[in-house]
């Protein structure tokens, strides 16, 4: 049975469907023509071989009356730009520009420029939308330029030049900020940079003045050529490369220097290896992954580790160490994970729906949910049970030093019941069986290897 990918419908020439475990791309006549131009080009073979473009094979018979059909390998875990770190979006932007430059050398263009066409596999960006490529016609401008600025360049500028996280913006408006909005955000000094004057201020002005005008024919007649696109792409590449974010080393970045973390880390790692050995999972979600120490242990067992944390700096560091590893990085608050959104509320599925883990790591996290976010312990356990998978859990008692810090300004009556170890075990017993437990040194923390009842 064939089912349509709810996120692939905008381009009528090419749409993704699933047939069992197979990922197919169905093409209409125009899409097939574009593929037949792309496939024999030197660009295509080189881009696939270098791991920048998704592997693609043509099927002999196209289903559903399509003019042609292609098959791709399945992406292990799909993430979205509003879940990426700064460096991930920057690497994706550079890939987009490099592919366009290389494609143009083979007489091919990329008709859009959205990070939703890029996924991270084994810690590196991979361009997945074969349908974006088509033959370059002389005199045509780069149709994706404005989209590139809104979905790659401006979000990166937000962080690098205005110290604002781009993820909340892209999650709220997946089209990204407009040039006009960026002009309002950037301070005087940043707005006067030459690159800002061109890509932000001048684009905002020209978009305002020329809204709705048909100019593609004008440009062609005036002598527009691919060389102009290449010149623009080269300068954009330098600009993107120049954008940096110094996230500092504060808060959780110093996590591993905390007393209890250094003391307990080895024991927790061994307990986790033991639990994973019993469950033999294929997809592990690490809730509150921090620097990815436990995600790395899970990935080393051969599982895909999905490392989720709301604090971008720690994941930025993990990304720098994740190349070649089976770790997927997700910037998202656990108290407000990415929802299903886009067209009909189905275009971009919710984070937890995409994650679909068969093992959960919840180390060093539930006390933050209970004491910082005021989630009742019963609700935390209900949520963990909803994964319907084994859980490696670290319980932290009210007597723990960290809990003392988290509750320093809270009164007893402001805290939910179910926090003491005795009460917590009663709640635990309703949802899980305990396969194994271990009290950590200090006596205020207990590790549990849980299986759902």
């Amino acid at each position: 049975m064939i089912s349509a990918d709810p996120g692939s419908f905008r381009d009528p020439a090419s749409r993704v469907v699933f047939e069992g475990d197979r990922v197919l791309r169905l093409l209409d006549e125009r899409g097939l023509e574009a593929w037949e131009h792309l496939e024999p080009s030197p660009f295509f073979g080189h881009a696939v071989e270098s791991g920048r473009l998704i592997a693609t094979t043509k099927l002999d018979n196209a289903p559903n009356g399509a003019a042609g059909a292609l098959q791709h390998p399945r992406i292990p875990f799909v993430s979205y730009p509003y879940e990426w770190t700064f460096s991930m979006l920057r690497d994706a932007a550079l890939l987009q520009l490099d592919l366009l430059a290389d494609a143009l050398a083979s007489g091919i263009t990329i008709k859009d420029a959205t990070p939703f066409n890029i996924q991270f596999v084994d810690g590196s960006p991979l361009f997945i939308d074969i349908g974006s490529f088509e033959k370059y016609r002389d005199g045509e401008p780069w149709i994706g330029y404005r989209q590139f600025t809104r979905q790659f360049l401006f979000p990166l500028m937000l962080r690098a030049w205005a110290e604002l996280p781009f993820q909340p913006w892209l999650r709220g408006d997946m089209e990204g900020p407009t040039a006009g909005e960026m002009k309002q955000i950037l301070s005087g000094g940043k707005r006067m940079k030459p690159s800002s004057l061109m890509h932000v201020s001048l684009q905002a002005k020209m978009e305002e003045r020329m809204s709705g005008a048909s100019v593609r024919g004008d440009l062609k007649a005036a002598g527009f050529s691919a060389d102009l696109i290449l010149a623009n792409v080269r300068k954009l590449r330098s600009l993107v490369e120049s954008l940096h974010w110094d996230h500092g080393v504060e808060g959780w970045s110093d996590y591993h220097t905390c007393d209890h973390v250094g003391r307990d880390r080895k024991t927790k790692g061994e307990f986790l290896r033991d639990a994973l050995g019993r469950s033999r999972p294929k997809r592990v979600i690490d809730l509150g992954a921090n620097d990815g120490y436990f995600s790395t242990i899970a990935a080393d067992t051969g599982a895909l580790a999905i490392a989720v944390d709301g604090y971008e700096p720690v994941l930025e560091e993990l990304y720098g160490r994740s190349q070649g590893k089976n770790i997927s990085i997700v910037v998202s608050e656990l108290t407000n994970p990415s929802p299903a959104q886009g067209w009909a509320g189905r275009e971009r599925p919710a984070l937890m729906e995409r994650a679909n883990p068969d093992h959960v790591i919840a180390y060093g996290v539930i006390h933050h949910l209970i004491y910082t976010a005021s989630i009742p312990p019963a609700a935390v356990l209900e949520w963990l049970r909803s994964f319907d998978a084994p859980v490696a859990l670290e319980y932290v008692s009210p007597d723990d030093e960290m809990v003392g810090k988290l509750t320093a300004n809270k009164l007893e009556q402001e805290l939910h019941p179910g926090r003491s170890e005795a009460e917590f075990r009663v709640l635990l017993d309703r949802a899980f069986d305990i396969r194994k437990e271990h009290v950590l040194e200090g006596g205020t923390r207990v590790l549990f290897d849980l299986v759902p009842r």
Partner: protein, 64 residues
């Protein structure tokens, strides 16, 4: 012409020529001039006056 499912933005398209360097600025200027002449011709036709000779560039535009 490439069929576009994406709204490229008219101002952003012209801007691309400018961003292409000196040669691009010349292209952008010619494209802008062609637009102005095209508008002038349309305005005259709408007011009943004889349109001025339409440039080659504008003639090409009408086919795009």
């Amino acid at each position: 012409m490439i069929f576009g499912y994406l709204d490229a933005g008219s101002g952003s398209l012209i801007l691309q020529a400018v961003l292409g360097g000196l040669a691009g600025i010349a292209v952008a200027f010619r494209a802008w001039k062609a637009r102005m002449m095209g508008k002038k011709a349309i305005a005259k036709a709408e007011t009943g006056a004889e349109p001025e000779t339409v440039s080659d560039e504008t003639a090409v535009n009408s086919e795009s």
